[in-house]
Each structure stands twice: as structure tokens, then as C-alpha cells.
């Protein structure tokens, strides 16, 4: 047994010596190989990110990174969209400046104008006779749109200016409560407002096509600065401007507003950011223009408010501000009910 074991051991030693020689040889061979071709060895080292998608590269290419998600909400497949940063700058800085300058600036201009020019008086006084300027339906549409507009404007301005101006005054709880109701009012009143804009567009389009008379009216500054009374049909150039601002501006705020109210129906987030920017800029300019409209319709001009109040204006007012319209109305009245008075006597 012992002898056999020794034989085995000897055999094993011999064979292992052989294999060591072999191994050394192979190693030397490998060393030579690797020394001669180091680049080959380096390429063999695995680097899975060499061909992988890279965040910064994707962001530079597309401005956002989108992939695939296995959850049902496919909108969550957008991984990143840093564009919100620009929108944030717009909302917290640019919009506040534009809105602030437009609205405070307009108020300042109106105050200065009122103090220097004062109310535009009826120069020939009241005749005591009136003429119908706006029908009950027209006035209804005007006031429905106007009421909605004021609520929409206040609740909208609250979203932009409430946090820096109102929140510190009334505190978090009250401000959130008010803003919540303002948001509901803003959303729901958008519907009658939009209907109002559409009706305004349809019922007053005929009188609001720009023509040659407007050029002359504008050249003479609308008679506002001096004591001039340039002729005008039913709507003068200033009123036509208001009309188109309401129709185009109202259309824009309505369209962009509904895009925001129904997220993802029309566009993704980037579209909503753009919609909010258009909505907000048009809205603050709209508010500024409407301040001027309210001014001229109330304390800015004697006899103007009753056009939308009772619906009738004094004939002298019509002669001074809408001479061509008065002629048209008189001609029509004569044609319709001859013989008869051109205008109805005031009761």
C-alpha cells in the first residue's frame, strides 16, 4: 500500500511539473499576445454606458425626455421637461411686469387725462329728445359679457398678483378660500363670457368694418384731445378698435383658457405653458384696454353711459359723436313712417 502510494505521488509530481511548464508557457504566450495587442484587450472590457442614452444629450436634442411606461397613464411617459423653468420666469417675473405696467400705466394715463381734459361735455347741451342706440338684447349681451369680464379679470389677476399683494394682508387660510371660489367663478363664468363674445361678434360686425371715415376720425384724434367732433357712423374708429379687441382678444383668451381647463385634450404640457402665456398676456392687456373703455363710457364723456344704460341717447349727443349714424337713422325713420317725426320725443 505504502509503495503504491509513493508511486502515485511520484507520478503526480511529474505530471504536475509538466502542467506547470505548460501553464508557464501558456502564460508567457498570453503575455506576448497582450503586449503586442493592448488595444484588443481594452476593447474587451465591458462598458455598457458607451452606447447608452444620455440625459444631457437627449435634453439638448429634444428639450425633453420621453420614454415608455408600463402603467396605464401614458402621459407620465415624459421623464423630464426642464422648459418649465422658462415658463416659471415668465409667470413670476415677466408677466408681473407686463401686467403691472399695462394696468397701473393705463390707470395713471386715465387719471392724468381726466385731470387735464375732464369730462367730454355735450357742447350743445341736451335737446330733450332721445334716439334708440342699443336694443334691450344688445344691452343684455353687453352687460352679461361685461359682468363676466369683471369677475374673470379680478379672479385672473388674483392668480398673478394675489400672492404678493393680497396674501400677506389676509393670510393663508382666507386667501386660499377666496382663491378657490375665484377659480370656480373663473372657470364657470368663462362659458357665458364666451357666448357673449360670439354674440358681440355677430350682432355688431356690420357697424365695425373699418372704412375711410375712420381714417379721418383718427387723424383728428377722435375729437377727444381738443373740442373737435369728427363725423362717424354708428361706431367710430375708437369703438371699432374696442370691438376688434374684444372679439380677437376674447377669442384668444377663451381658446387658450379652454385648453388649460381641459388638460391634455389639445396638447401636452409645453402647449399648456404656451397657452397660459398667451392667455395671461392677452388678458392683462385686455384689462388695461377695458379700463379705458369703462372710463370713456362713464366719467369720461357726458351722455355716453345712457347708451348702454337706458339704451337711448340724446339727439345732440348723437349729432356730436355719431353724426353720420344720426343721419342714417333719420333717413330710415323717414322712409319707414312718413309722415312722422324723425325722432321720438322724450317722455
Amino acid at each position: 500500500m505504502a509503495c503504491e502510494t509513493r508511486n502515485y505521488l511520484e507520478e503526480f509530481m511529474v505530471s504536475s511539473a509538466r502542467s506547470i511548464y505548460l501553464a508557464v508557457g501558456a502564460l508567457a504566450f498570453l503575455l506576448i499576445l497582450t503586449a503586442s495587442a493592448p488595444s484588443v484587450a481594452q476593447q474587451d472590457r465591458i462598458n455598457p454606458t458607451a452606447s447608452s442614452v444620455r440625459e444631457q444629450q437627449l435634453l439638448q436634442e429634444f428639450d425633453r425626455i420621453q420614454g415608455r411606461v408600463s402603467i396605464p397613464d401614458q402621459r407620465s411617459s415624459v421623464l423630464m421637461q426642464p422648459a418649465g423653468r422658462e415658463w416659471r420666469e415668465f409667470r413670476t417675473v415677466a408677466l408681473r411686469w407686463v401686467g403691472g405696467i399695462a394696468i397701473v400705466g393705463m390707470l395713471a394715463v386715465l387719471v392724468i387725462f381726466y385731470l387735464t381734459r375732464g369730462m367730454v361735455r355735450l357742447e350743445s347741451g341736451r335737446s330733450g329728445r332721445t334716439i334708440v342706440r342699443f336694443t334691450a338684447f344688445e344691452r343684455f349681451v353687453h352687460w352679461m359679457t361685461a359682468t363676466c369680464f369683471i369677475v374673470l379679470a379680478v379672479s385672473g389677476l388674483n392668480i398673478t398678483f394675489g400672492r404678493p399683494l393680497l396674501l400677506p394682508l389676509i393670510g393663508h387660510g382666507a386667501f386660499s378660500e377666496w382663491s378657490q371660489w375665484a377659480k370656480y367663478a373663473h372657470n364657470y363664468l368663462s362659458f357665458p363670457f364666451t357666448i357673449g363674445v360670439v354674440l358681440i361678434f355677430l350682432m355688431w360686425i356690420a357697424g365695425n368694418i373699418p372704412n375711410k371715415v375712420d381714417v379721418d376720425w383718427l387723424k383728428r384724434g377722435g375729437g377727444i384731445v381738443g373740442h373737435d367732433h369728427p363725423p362717424s357712423y354708428r361706431f367710430n374708429a375708437g369703438q371699432k378698435a374696442i370691438y376688434w379687441i374684444v372679439v380677437i382678444g376674447g377669442g384668444l383668451v377663451a381658446a387658450t383658457g379652454y385648453e388649460l381647463m381641459f388638460p391634455f385634450y389639445l396638447s401636452g404640457i409645453e402647449g399648456m405653458q404656451l397657452a397660459q402665456m398667451v392667455h395671461a398676456i392677452v388678458a392683462v392687456l385686455f384689462v388695461a384696454v377695458m379700463l379705458a373703455h369703462i372710463y370713456i363710457g362713464t366719467i369720461g364723456m357726458e351722455g355716453a353711459f345712457e347708451a348702454m344704460g337706458s339704451g337711448t341717447v340724446d339727439v345732440n349727443w348723437a349729432r356730436e359723436h355719431h353724426s353720420l349714424w344720426l343721419e342714417e337713422e333719420n333717413a330710415r325713420a323717414e322712409a319707414n313712417a312718413r309722415p312722422g317725426p324723425a325722432v321720438t320725443a322724450a317722455e
Binding site: 444631457q56 421623464l79 413670476t92
Partner: protein, 198 residues
Amino acid sequence: MARMKFLCDADRCIECNACVTACKNEHEVPWGINRRRVVTIDDGKPGERSVSMACMHCTDAPCAAVCPVNCFYTTADGVVLHSKDLCIGCGYCFYACPFGAPQYPKIGNFGSRGKMDKCTYCAGGPEADGSKEEYEKYGANRLAEGKLPLCAEMCSTKSLLAGDGEIIAQIYKERVMKRGYGSGAWGWKTAYRETIES
């Protein structure tokens, strides 16, 4: 105090969606809302990567900046939270967020979105820590119990890391050094305006 951050090592994420499920279960997140999701980019192509994404709890968070009612606040741990009592559901944070984190329960149409919901870093809300009201509105408050967010805690490949920004950045750096590659800390530049050199 720590500055809590998330870091998803995209080279380790296997898109198992355990983080998504863990989050939904832990906080009983309403149907239709996912506080966390896994997005696979270039799915099926060479070089595809999956990234688990939720609210990144940004430095100088855009959501907080644009909120009209200022309902966001940042905790001492750097976690961005919000008050559902103050939120009016206007949707502005959702326009500003680079990571698509804010979501709204669909409780009605005509823009009457419910209160915004997003990842709380398992840190609840303004209510008392661990209270019933806090759980109903925001889910569990693990941070108050000394635990880290569950999504990262149960990540099977430890791809998703949560914890102090410096510590998880160090862990990631060591991984990258050891294995020799790394596709970067996704979202860090956008959220924290810093990157981890790899």
C-alpha cells in the same frame, strides 16, 4: 440636517416597478395617480435605460415659485411638501414641474381638479406626524419614524437611492469608480443644478 434627495442609478434599474407598487401601497395613493413611475427610454433598442422618477424635491422648487396661493414649503430636510388644505387645484405647479410630479384626482370636469397630489418623500404633510388626517391626505410619514422612502428601501437592485444628497452621491461615485461606467444621476442637473462627476 440632511438634504434629502433621490438618485436613480439607471445602469441598475431593471424596470421591475417595485418602487411604483410600494409607493402606491404604502400611501394608498388614489386610483389614477402615480407618485412614482418608471420610464424606459429607447425601449428595446441598444443602450436603453430605465429611470425611476418621482418628485425630485428640487432646490428652489419651480412648483413652489409659481403656486398662486403659496401652499408649498420645504422641510428642514430639504423635502418639498404642500398643504392640500391651501391648494386650489389650479394646475400651475403641473405646468412648471420638470418631472411631471404633480397630479390631480379627476373629481370633476370643467377644470375643477381636486387637490394636487405628489410624492412626499414619505414625509407626510403639515398635519401632526403620523396622525390619521396626515395619512388620509398625504400617506405614511416614514421620515418621522426614522425610515427612508419605501420605494428606495425596497428597490431590488438598489438602483434607486434615497437619503442625504452627499451620502448617496458618494455611494454612486464609488459604484461608478468600481465598475468603470455610469450614465449619470438623472435629473440632478435640472433639480439640484449639480451633477455627479463620473
